[in-house]
């Protein structure tokens, strides 16, 4: 397993220039998620607009995978409907749980398919999921379907 196949160029780019990073107002719900095994953290705010689209902001610290994945998640989910956001999360989760068996549908997941290689490293899967889980939790709370965690 070469380093390059896990750390695809696109991941390193997102890591160096994360999209949408920085907390913003207004927000309806703020969540704080951590990866207890390594201490990576994300704070994520959400505000679901009147038209049902998701407005996100986030900040965090952690490894290249967790930071790049949060950035990609932001790009994909920001401005989408709740249903679309959740569908993306489900699709990404499935990719991450595939133990390297799946490569992901680029039409749906866009840059997120670059994380396919991560799914071979169980210890890093949690990193890749951190931002997504925070998003799902926050949006769920915002639309009142309970604590998604």
């Amino acid at each position: 397993m070469s380093l390059e196949s896990m750390y695809q160029e696109i991941i390193l780019e997102h890591y160096k220039s994360p999209q949408g990073k920085g907390l913003r107002e207004p927000f309806a719900v703020e969540v704080h998620h951590v990866n207890p095994t390594c201490g990576d953290e994300i704070t994520l705010r959400v505000h679901t607009a009147a038209d049902g689209t998701i407005d996100l902001s986030y900040d965090g610290q952690g490894c290249s995978i967790s930071q790049a994945s949060a950035s990609v998640m932001f790009e994909l989910v920001q401005g989408k409907s709740v249903d679309d956001g959740f569908a993306l999360e489900a699709e990404f989760l499935e990719l991450m749980q595939s133990k390297g068996e799946k490569s992901g549908d680029e039409d749906v997941l866009g840059d997120a398919v670059a994380f396919a290689g991560v799914s071979k490293f169980p210890a890093r899967v949690k990193c890749a999921l951190l931002g997504w889980m925070a998003m799902k939790d926050a949006v769920s709370q915002n639309i009142g379907v309970g604590n998604g965690r």
């Binding site: 951590v34 207890p36 169980p122 890093r124």
Partner: protein, 426 residues
């Protein structure tokens, strides 16, 4: 039908001699079972190829170890009809039962100290006079922890009584398990008497009054097919070493709901979510109950044990033991002066058979048997109050498992006759 001769080849210790040149007849599996080669090798192979700290490493070996660990959890869960995240690893059943008992004393202590309880913990707070119902045939492991809870909370113990032939009296359960009852904790199959208890019945009454229902399944899971989800229990405890697994590993099963609500027990590494100097938050079950570096090699060994048992088939094992039990009960009762302590018929009973021999103390019976290679256990079998209830100071206990055969019953019988002769009581 089990091919016992074949099976015995998997257990080299059964071919060993004792006291010089006397072949071993091992009838003490209710205390601890022997281990097949596949289990011994699974542990060794883990150390030789996969050993690393699990759940923590970002390196290949740690991932290999974690994969062994979690696939073992899945296999063990599958063996008892459970989901992996409902299986908590402990060192033995005693720890499992204490873990639950401490759930109650911890919740109560926090409550009394005015500390904030976590969601669900209030269901474990005991008030003085709240009742904990056990049976008169509990192992010390399911009695003493509750006595300690009583000392810490002011709760009260009550007991479902036992008949003279070692069955539970269950026709007036509603008088014993009442609105005051907060906990019902019962042995599934008695290690002293052999009795298989009607746990669904007891569980139904526990649920009817909203009490937690706990099963000590130490003597059932090794010997019969047990699906934990069909017993009506919130928690089920058992030990690996009695089911062909290594020493140092036990299992606490809990429903997700029960495990989520239960307060933490041992705290430290691996069971946390976040830690600050002044407070911490905890992971979800099962991690929240697995503080510290786990018994990884033993967990892998236990997974090998459940594979070994499953390959033979738990129903075939149960049937084999049932046949031996029936034969042993009848052979023992044909000896003048021998009395069974516990049910005298093989119906709803396991293969642990306690007996007394008139005018002979169990220690002396055991000693004569041992001189002939027959390994039995003598004493109160960690169920001392039950011995008193049965009006015996102690018993001799022979117990059978998948590797025993009829010829060993004959050795047992001729050993008892020899003891009677030696001490001049027959």
């Amino acid at each position: 039908m089990l091919d016992v001769a074949r099976i015995r080849e998997d257990f080299p210790i059964l071919s060993r001699k004792v006291h010089g040149d006397v072949p071993l007849v091992y009838l003490d599996s209710a205390a601890t079972s022997q281990k097949p080669l596949s289990v011994i090798e699974a542990e060794s192979n883990f150390y030789l190829n996969a050993n690393a700290a699990i759940h923590r490493g970002a390196h290949a070996l740690a991932e290999i170890a974690t994969e062994h660990y979690e696939s073992s959890r899945a296999a063990i869960a599958h063996f008892i009809g459970a989901r992996p995240n409902e299986v908590v690893f402990v060192k033995n059943a005693t720890e499992a039962l204490n873990l639950i008992a401490y759930g109650f004393s911890n919740a109560t202590a926090k409550f009394r100290n005015g500390s904030q309880l976590l969601a669900g913990e209030e269901r474990f707070v005991l008030k003085p006079g709240d009742e904990i119902v056990l049976t008169e045939m509990e192992h010390h492991a399911n009695l003493v922890p509750w006595q300690e809870v009583v000392l810490k909370t002011g709760a009260v113990l009550k007991f479902i009584p036992t008949t003279d032939d070692g069955r539970l009296v269950v026709d007036n359960l509603a008088d014993i398990i009442t609105e005051r009852t907060k906990v019902v904790s019962v042995v599934h199959q008695s290690n002293l008497l052999g009795t298989l208890n009607p746990v669904q019945l007891i569980g139904a009454q526990a649920k009817a009054v909203g009490a937690w229902f706990i099963l000590d399944a130490c003597q059932s899971v090794p010997h019969m097919s047990v699906d934990v989800t069909t017993l009506g229990a919130d928690f089920v405890a058992f030990s690996g070493h009695k089911m062909c697994g290594p020493t140092g590993i036990g299992v606490l099963w809990g429903s997700s709901e029960a495990l989520d609500a239960l307060p933490v027990f041992l705290t430290g590494g691996s069971m946390i979510e976040t830690v600050y100097f002044d407070h911490s938050t905890y992971a979800k079950a099962p991690a929240k109950f697995e503080a510290g570096t786990p018994m990884s090699a033993q967990i892998v060994g236990l997974a090998a044990a459940v594979k070994y048992l499953s390959d033979l088939g738990m129903d075939a094992i149960a049937e084999h033991e049932h046949r031996l039990t029936a034969a042993a009960l009848s052979a023992l009762q044909q000896i003048d002066g021998v009395r069974i302590v516990g049910p005298t018929e093989a119906l709803n009973r396991g293969s642990a058979i306690s007996f007394v021999v008139d005018s002979l103390h169990p220690h002396d019976v055991g000693h004569v048997l041992d001189s002939r290679g027959v390994a039995v256990r003598v004493g109160h079998h960690c169920a001392w109050p039950t011995c008193r209830r049965m009006n015996v100071p102690a018993t001799t206990r022979a117990s059978f498992y998948l590797y025993n055969d009829e010829s060993e019953i004959e050795h047992l019988v001729s050993g008892i006759l020899a003891a009677q002769k030696f001490f001049g009581v027959a």
